[in-house]
Amino acid sequence: MEENSKIIIETQSLTKKYDGAIALDNLDLQVKQGEIFGFLGHNGAGKTTTVNILTTLLAPTSGSATICGFDIMRENMQVKKCIGYLPENVKFYDNLTAFENLEYFAKLSGVQNPKEKISEVLEFIEFTGIENKKLGEFSKGMRQRIGIAQAIIHEPKVLFLDEPTSGLDPMGIKKLREVILKLKHEKQMTIFMNTHLLSEVAKVCTTIGVLNHGKLIYKETLENMLKRFSDENSLEDIYFAIGE
């Protein structure tokens, strides 16, 4: 129980400005170990900017953040070792096979036995028999699962997913959801998920954060949120009630 209460992602007054426009406004956020954190918000709310900053891809204008206790600016190499990341719409190397793509990321992440690890990960996400197929032949859903595989191949403590279900068909969404839940239950991974699909949030997330124009306007566990907004008919109504 104590382990679960450990803060693994923490931001303090995190701010990002693009040419004077504020994309992220003094974000104070804490995510506990083992949580599946659903980061909700409309398009352009600042969700991707937050993930880009937390994954060390983008420097904040001001404020600070730590992942696994490491500062994202000063100790970015340690941060990179403990995170996995799946951006929206990643396409990988189309001319290479699934195995070759995964092998590359495994080697760069310092995985000792890439071949064994790739088999293990593909088995974990129940996606075997595709190793020798070129990624150019893959559907969007299949690519997304390879994306998950590359993100977890080095067994990170925190997994960042940016709109993981975007553009997937219902079957693809279902399979991805199963993988996310499996990662939480079997690998005790902390998952930070950007999304605007409320139905997905209800099915997988344990905690919800709502971002509006760069500001965090609401953060609560899913359970408490449903209790608090019990009068609302749907999650969509809750989302708009929070926005108001």
Binding site: T49, T55, K80, V90, E100, Y104, L108, S109, G110
Partner: protein, 317 residues
Amino acid sequence: MSSITTIAIQEVKVLFRERVFFLLLGIFIVMTLVSLSIGLIATTTTTSIYNASVEFLQKSGANNIPSNPLSALPALTNFRNVIVYIFLIGSLLAIVMGHRSFIRERKSGVLSLLLTRPISPKTLFLGKMFGICLALLSIIGVTFAVSVVSSLLLPFQHLVLDDILRLFIFYALSFFYLLFFAVLGLLFAIKTRSESLALFIPVCIWVGISFVLPGLVSGQTPTALLNPVTMSQIAPAGTFFALMQQYLGPISIGWHYTSFSSQLLGNSLQAVQTNIGGILWENINKTATLLFAVVICLGLCFYLIRSYTVGEGDIYE
């Protein structure tokens, strides 16, 4: 295996699966063989005309018959067209290769994944550069081998050790010339937010280096540059060209490459009479300028990769 090696091998592996690489390799091999054929045909035709003239002159009773001007030139001269092919086509394809190396990863979103791995920008840069160098070296190496083997197989093309050494130095010089353009392609692929602009700017620079600068420096028209003429031309008299040669001459790397290469391949009697050491010494400034240009571009690439941030407005397919 270090991360640099992993990135370099991946770069080569991806390039080997792309058409651009094989297009470049194919063009180089074909260019070499075509150049050799054209050179041989030209030499054979000229020699037969010379022989016919000698016969005619002898029958006419002439005593003072001049010697065949081509007999003084080495067999290597038959490769002279390769200079123009590398100078124009090779450099353009090298830009595409460098451009693809980074744009490919920006467009596919792979760059975001690479930058979230525990590798430094320096590692990423060195890995990419080693990969590009390996790919270029393999193209140059195969072309060099094709040149030597085809020469050895042809009955009228006798290469001596000195010729092979000259050919080797020529291809080594060509490697650095192509590397400059590949790095230029890479540089703008990192810097610009638009894919088309990332290709358009280096192509404009290529036009400047290949046509404008040599034209201004030598006083030759761009059309003249397309011909495998002897490059040690004297610029026409006049203040404008004299000034251009004085101020732009030292930075005209295209002009340096063609003039140095033509000396190496013995395009003139003077070049044939100078030994390799002499040619190298004579062209040390030109080589240094080319290497300096490569180093400057590499430095800029490294700086841009270090400060590169994935953000909104990035290229995605």
